[in-house]
Amino acid sequence: MTMPPVSTASPESMPKPAETTAAPIGPRERPLINGDNAYFWEGVQERTLIFQKCDDCEKVRHPSSPACPSCCSMAWQPVTSTGSGTVYTFAIVHHPQLPGFQTPYPVMVVEFEEGARMALSSSKIDGRDLYIGAPVQVAFKVDDDFVYPDLELRSLVDKAAL
């Protein structure tokens, strides 16, 4: 048996990591799910948006947490959102490329009617149509057999209903 040759490379001649400029492939990265946030992703698979509502102070909260940030109570109930909200802030991602996202794509923090804010992206909204205060409505998008919340502009939803 022959041993592999011992590397005599000095630090100055270390190989460089490969550049990763190729277009991203593969599905969107699935969220991590544990006992604290399972209610949310289970709800999304059923095409509902669910927030936590504190049993004691009745505040609605997101992101999920075992204890209420307002009163520290650990007792809570799920509350189903109407999915209707307004844009609190937004940005348009041009770089980097990510699997499951088509640049440029808008990301935003939405203030929902129930009072909770959540950061979300949209595959349906043109970033140039966005402004702070814009009315948005949750929609849903399936990627790799998993449902994600998506967003559309509510004015367009309303027009479609007419």
Partner: protein
């Protein structure tokens, strides 16, 4: 407030800053620490404490082994990326003031440009275990970089006060003007105009490429000891007047969007309050500042959070060239993370030291006190360094 022995920075050291160091991160750390120890006029074997970042790739054991340090009895690491920078000085200062340690080195070394780049997706495995779940709320929606997450905060700041991307551009122009006359800066000799800024492509709208800090390879180290001992060493002591960290209740690592304060850098406000109180001085006592500039809008927001002007007033505050070369309040005189290099602001701390020593490439006259801040929009830290009287 740090009680106990007064503390000083007695040495600084760095490698060259580059886009491809051609050597290992450990070697960069060793070179930087050796340079800092030589600057202080102490021996590496005198080091009895080490403070680093949780993001640091070089463990204390490797530092001790390679520098021939017989033993250390104090070491700590600070979380939250660039928010850690001045926290390293705070931890070192507390260890020395309390008598736990005598000679503490704060260090940061990485191949952040030729190796793993923060401007790209790091993958969730780069995060600590619980933090993976927190960050998963954002990764699920394509918010995988600091630029994307903090662009949301920048946009809200614009909305609150009618701030424009030209206001961001004026920060960039001032920083690049400083870098243009700093031979250690990547952008030495390469100033930009407001027009260049406005023509710069979007990374994450409202952040253009020129609004974003660089990605860099390099290492920086700082030696901290008691002021009494520093007075007997090779370099002029730089007194640590105050060094503080801060997290407020609504904070997250770049995603604290959930309260009405989110556009006002509430972590920085916590640090500022404790810092001014601890040092017993205020913004009027500061001659120059090195404000963390991962993204240019956050320089404006920090001018407000640290009390140099009121909320929403920073664009007007800087409009007359106040923060650029020869201005009434030059800041980021090394060119900042945008113009000099991105060594997680440890290079900003060394610039603050040079300003106090009167050895900076873009020296501000009559410096008594310098404010240096760590990454804002995340749990953060800051320090005030001053002249020994």
């Amino acid at each position: 407030m740090i009680s106990g022995r007064p503390v000083a920075i007695c040495g600084i050291g760095a490698t060259e800053f580059s886009m491809d160091s051609g050597r290992s991160e450990l070697r960069l750390a060793i070179e930087a620490i050796q340079a800092a120890v030589a600057d202080a006029g102490v021996r590496a074997s005198d080091i009895d404490g080490l403070v680093g970042f949780t993001y640091e790739g070089n463990p204390e054991t490797s530092i001790v082994r390679n520098l021939g340090i017989p033993e250390i009895n104090f070491y700590s690491r600070i979380p939250f990326g660039g928010g850690a920078a001045c926290g390293t000085v705070a931890h070192a200062a507390m260890a020395i003031a309390s008598g736990v340690a005598e000679t503490v080195v704060c260090y940061r070394a990485f191949n952040e440009r030729s190796g793993q780049r923060y401007g790209r997706d790091q993958g969730r495995e780069a995060l600590y275990y619980t933090e993976r779940w927190n960050r998963s709320w954002y990764r699920a929606f394509g918010l995988n970089t600091a630029a994307a997450r903090l662009a949301l905060t920048a946009r809200r700041y614009m909305h609150e006060f009618g701030v424009t991307t030209e206001d961001f551009g004026r920060v960039v122009v001032a920083e690049r003007a400083h870098a243009a006359t700093n031979p250690n800066a990547r952008f030495y000799g390469r100033p930009v105009t407001l027009e260049d800024h406005q023509n710069s492509p979007w990374i994450v709208d409202p952040l253009r490429k020129l609004d974003c800090c660089q990605e860099s390879d390099g290492g920086v180290a700082i030696v901290v000891t008691s002021l009494e001992r520093a007075r007997d060493l090779a370099s002029r002591p730089v007194v640590v007047r105050a060094a503080n960290q801060g997290i407020w209740q609504g904070s997250e690592e770049s995603t604290g969007y959930y309260t009405s304060e989110s556009a006002f850098l509430p972590d920085s406000a916590v640090v500022a309050r404790h810092l001014w109180s601890s040092a017993g001085i205020g913004p009027d006592d500061i001659q120059t500042a090195i404000l963390y500039d991962h993204f240019s809008p956050f320089v404006l927001m920090q001018l407000e959070a640290y009390g140099f002007c009121g909320r929403g007033e920073a664009p007007a505050f800087i409009a007359d060239g106040r923060i650029g070369p020869g201005g009434a309040f030059p800041i980021n005189t090394n060119g900042g993370l945008i113009g000099e290099a991105y060594i997680h602001q440890m290079n900003g701390i060394t610039e603050a030291v040079r300003q106090v020593r009167q050895t900076a490439a873009n020296q501000v006259p009559d410096v008594e006190n310098v404010l240096v801040t760590a990454g804002p929009g995340i749990p953060t830290s800051a320090a005030i360094l001053g002249v020994d009287r």
